[in-house]
Each structure stands twice: as C-alpha cells, then as structure tokens.
Subunit: 342 residues, 2 copies
DNA sequence: CGGGGGCGTGAGAACGCTCTCACGGCCGTG
DNA sequence: CACGGCCGTGAGAGCGTTCTCACGCCCCCG
C-alpha cells in the first residue's frame, strides 16, 4: 500500500529483545519499570521498543499476573433513561477521575434485560476485569449474587434493598432529606408535602424516610395526603404536584426527592399562580445542573460525588488486592445548597 | 466460612478433564461446540463443567485465538453532555441489539480529555478488543489515526470532517435537511429560516447544506440573515430563535437542526405570540423522544438508528474477519415524520 | 477376509508474557 | 589476598487455552 510495510501482527517481547541485544527477561524488566536494569540496557530496550512501536500483549500478561488492570461499571438498568440521568454522568466522570492517577482502565457495560445481564455476567466472570462496580437503581438483579458467588470483587453504587453481604457506597439520602425538611421547618413552613421517589428504589425510600423523620421529630403528625409518589422524572414531578395541590391546597412547602421532579413541580406551581418561595417553598435533591437553571434556582441537597466515587474505587481495589477485611460499606454525607426556591 | 469450601481461583480445563475422565482437548472441543465428540464424552464433560462451575479463561483463549470477542464503543467527547443525548442512548441500544445474536460483547469507553483519550488508546492497542466504533461528535482527535496506524479495525459513527481513509456510517443529514426544507416549501412557506448546528460538527454542516440546497433548487436566494448557529441544546435553540425573530420578524418557517433546539425555539415562538404552525412552521431533526411531547408535537426528520448500528457492526466485523475489501462507508436514508408543527 | 476411510480421542507444541532461580562479576570487608 | 554479598543478567518453567497431528477403532466395501 504505502511505503511503510504493514505487519500483520504486533511485535513481541522476543523481537524487542533481539533488536536490543538483551534477553526477554530484561525487556520485561524495562517495560515494567523494574529498578534492576543497567542504564545502558534500559536505553537499548527503550530504543528497540520505540523502533518497533511495541505494545505489550495484555492477554499474555494477564494470563500470568492474573490481573487485567481493568474494572467494569455495569449499568443494570432496564430502560435507557439512566444515560440521561446527570447523576450517572457524574459517577462516570468521578470514577474516571479517581482512576486517572492509576493505570487502571474503566469500561462501561450496559445490561438492559435479563439476556444482556447474563452476557455481562459472563464477560465479567471470564476474567476480563478485576472488579465490578454495579449501578442498578432498581432492585432484584441476579448479577450481584452471581458475582459474589464467583468471588469477583464487587462494590454497589447505592445501598441495596436487602442486607446482602456486599460492599456498597451511598449518599446519606435519609440525612439529606432530613436536612431539607428541617430547613423548611426552620423557615416557618407549616404544611410540608413531599413528592417521593419510586418505592422500589432505595434512594426514593430513604429520602421519604428522612422527610418523615424530620417531621415526626418536630412533632408533626404523619399525613398521608401530603405524600405523592413520583418517578424521578420532570413529567412525573409535574403530575405529582398537581395531585398534591388537589389534595392539599393549603400546603406551603414541598420537599421533592429529585431535581428534575422539582422542576416539574415548579412549573405546575407557576401555572397554578403560586409564587415560589413566597407561597410555596420547594427543595429538591441531587443538585443536578438543571437546579441552577430553574426559575427560581432550586434549593437542593447535594451529594459528595467526588468522595463517593473515590471511596468506591478504594473499596474495590482493596478487594482486588485482597487487603479488604470483611464487607465494607460507606455512607457519604449530603449537604443542603441554599438557592432561591426555599 | 460457610459450608461450601471457597476456592481461591477458578477451575481450569485440566481439572475438568480429570473429573470427566477425558483429555484437555476433548473438554476444549465440548466447550467450543465442536461436532467431533461422542455423546458420552460430551455428557461427561458437561457434567464436570457444571459441577466445577467452570468458566473458560478468556485471557488464555485470546492468547491463542488472537480474538477477544469484544468490541469497544469509544466516546471521545469532552463534556459529559453526550450521555444526556438521547441519540447516544439509541446508538448503544442499537449496537447491543445488533450483537445480541452473537457472543460478542460491547464495552463503552469514555475519553473526555487528551489524557483519557490516550488511556483509551492504550487499552485498545493492548489487545483488549477486536475492534472499535468511535463516536466523536467534534473533530480532531488523534485517536482515529492512532488506531488506523495500529491496524485496529475501526468504524466511525458519523462522517469525519476530513476525508481520511476510514470506514464510517452516517445518516443522510443533508438529504434529511433537504426533505424538511422541501416540505416547508411545499407548504407554501416563503421565508424559511434555519437554526443550524455548530460549525465544527459534521451533522451541523450537512444539515445546513441540505437546507441551502433545497432553497437554492427552489430558486430562493441565500439570505445570511435567516441562518443562526445553535449548539444542539434547548437553551441554544431558544437564543437562536430570539435572534432570528429579531433579524427577520417576517419569517414564516424554521428548519431547526435538532429537536432539543426546536423545542427551545417553540418556547420562544410561543412567548412571542406566534402560533405554530399557523404563523410559523417548525421542523426539527432527530426524532428525539422530546419531539413527541412538545407542544405542538414536532414534525421532524428521523434517522434509521437500527439500520445504522447494524451496518456499523457489519462493517466492523468485516474488518475483524479481514473480509473487508477497502474502506467502506455508508450513508443511511433519513425520513420526514409529519406531526403537528409543520 | 483385508484394506481404506472416516471419527473420536489424546499428546504436545504453541501463544506472549512474568517470575523464579542460578550464575558470573564486582565491590567491600576481614 | 580471600571470601561473602549484591547486582545485573539470562535460561527456563509456567499461566490456561487452542490447534495440529497422529493414532487407534470401527465400519463399509471390494
């Protein structure tokens, strides 16, 4: 084709060794930054590596080291919605950031249905990765148990519903909801409603629990009229808000379990002629980008994404290195971000 | 720990062979569905495999077969916006669908900055995957050239700006834009404006070209006032629409190069008291989910995502199997979806 | 009844790397 | 001057597969 001859396959350690005039072992040492190499040998190898544009064969290396230096983030989510979730993008960014200083790679695996989940499970068990971070917002996958049984290092992103013996990292959803509700109480609000998340998601449950706990601590009686379940989407939030206005027109505050839902609620309140925060105070959750752009900008609860992803990696690598003692879990503190809506 | 003894490492082919009372080769044959195995031997091996819950070691296998049965979709995009792009989610779904009937795995790699791009490049070149589908909406990555030089099978998702010798698949953006504009013309619209995509994205350029071509074919003179550049986001579309109304208040139609931008434009038209499609007809592009929910539902241009992903896989696998002749490219036809906005 | 052609099987050599071990050479010490 | 130790190096044995051969066996046909 062009002037340069195209090889069919990549050069091997042996070829580098021959070109550098040393043994395979020495080339390996240089490639792996072993200190026990003379400067001359190192230089010769470096030159040969560059000349052949040698790249070590990971398969061969992994076969002996039993390490792939790759971890997988598997998204076990039925619908594609997960991608549009800004929370998800932040997790990916955070994980990549936490791995930036290492030579560990992050790959994403999606598993929408059972079939794909099985495929992902096989991929993982075949030894393509050293460990797995599993993001599964809804409950009941088989994947976790399968991976645990296979002895695969595993960290869940988000607390599991049941108490399986598995490592996980989550934000303090309950505490955050409590913070939000207490803020509303401190503001003198009397009738505080809530748009909750789905009952089959732990985050939804925990945020609802925090809201209830704060109210009960303040001596409020539980009023089932005041809680409507949403689905974490803007449309769902709008519908829930309509229902809420219908059920309890006297409400003067709403704790909404996600920012997109809060944006939907804001729209409905607007349309209903209620001023925010004058008539109704609104607090969201997640500190999504949309919270800044909403009108008015949303007071919300923020999660320490950076810290969470960092911890996930730590817990996972501890398992990979077999230095983990027992099953570790971690709850990261959430924080209230005051803006204009409450 | 528990009753079952936990092994440190997974069983090997040899152990299965011993348990089944056959040789390593026979086990390999069974595992790989070779027909040349007696039913009895096959059954014995099956049982042994199940008993040990044996999973073949991919590293060892790949070392000899030089195949990983894995392809990567790399997202070479600076910001995280790509995740929230519904187009992207569809691509992932489509690719997974196209691979569902095979035993080929799809992994996603993100590469936000140069550093991560380099990491992804290394990952790929080390032999973790058989081929790469590259999605890079903006121009000028080094990755493609690097992969081509390394002889890595590669298909671009979207036509590249320059004419590199690389396989790619794209929608007929130009044709779609033309369709949309011709529809507007046929509707009797006189002053047809356009909110274009960014100039550094091929999709933006092509859609603009199609719009211009349709107008010019219809004998319209090019009017630079009538084109404002957007950034493919809703906010950007709104801003562009404002500018357009300012520059050319007499316009009676707009071809918007993406649905999110069209939604923004709709909002602004609404606020300006223009009825759609009465005063101003609007056509979008992409047939994003949001196009259905907008008010009025958006007439838009749809891309054959299913076909595109299917073709990408075909072109890629042809390269992997070395049955590809030359550099293949494919433009998939777009179609106008008539709804209420035009 | 003998020979050829499957067909099922097993032995053993790869695949490209790491890692242990042993071996010279040089230093410092007694 | 002799000897122990360390340092750079290379030989060679794996790692868990696949794949090529060669080898019996049985069956069919002449």
């Amino acid at each position: 084709m062009t002037g340069t001859s195209t090889r069919v396959s990549s050069p091997t350690l042996d070829e580098v060794a021959v070109l550098a005039g040393v043994s395979r072992a020495t080339v390996s040492r240089v490639v792996n930054d072993s200190p026990r190499v003379s400067p001359e040998a190192r230089e010769a190898v470096r030159a040969a590596v560059a000349a052949l544009s040698y790249v070590p064969n990971r398969m061969a290396r992994s076969l002996v080291t039993r390490r792939t230096d790759t971890i997988a983030l598997v998204l076990s989510e039925p619908d594609a919605r997960i991608f549009s979730d800004p929370f998800f993008a932040s997790i990916v960014r955070g994980l990549n950031g936490a791995l930036a200083s290492t030579d560990i790679n992050l790959v994403l695996l999606t598993a929408r249905d059972e079939r794909e989940q099985e495929k992902a499970g096989r991929f993982v068990r075949q030894g393509h990765v050293d460990g797995v971070i599993l993001m599964s917002l809804h409950s009941h996958d088989v994947l976790p148990d399968e991976l645990i049984a296979a002895g695969m290092p595993l960290v869940l992103c988000g607390r599991p519903l049941d108490d399986r013996p598995v490592a996980w990292v989550d934000a303090d959803n309950c505490g955050g909801a409590r913070l939000a509700t207490e803020h509303l109480l401190a503001d003198g609000r009397r009738t505080i409603a809530s748009i909750s998340g789905p009952r089959d998601m732990v985050a939804g449950l925990d945020r609802l629990a925090g809201y209830r706990a704060a109210l009960s601590d303040a001596g409020h009686e539980a009023d089932p009229r005041l809680v409507v379940e949403g689905d974490f989407t803007e449309g769902g939030g709008a519908r829930a808000m309509e229902e809420l206005l219908d059920r309890a027109p006297e409400l003067d505050a709403v704790f909404v379990a996600s920012d997109p839902m809060a944006v939907g609620a804001l729209r409905v309140l607007h349309a209903a002629g209620r001023s925010v925060p004058g008539d109704v105070a609104v607090v969201g959750f997640d500190d999504a980008p949309v919270a800044l752009r909403s009108d008015p900008p949303l007071t919300t609860v923020t999660q320490p994404l950076e810290e969470m992803t960092q911890v996930m990696i730590e817990l996972l690598l501890a398992q990979v290195d077999r230095t983990a003692d027992g099953v570790q879990t971690r709850v990261c503190p959430t924080r209230l971000v005051r803006r204009a809506s409450a």
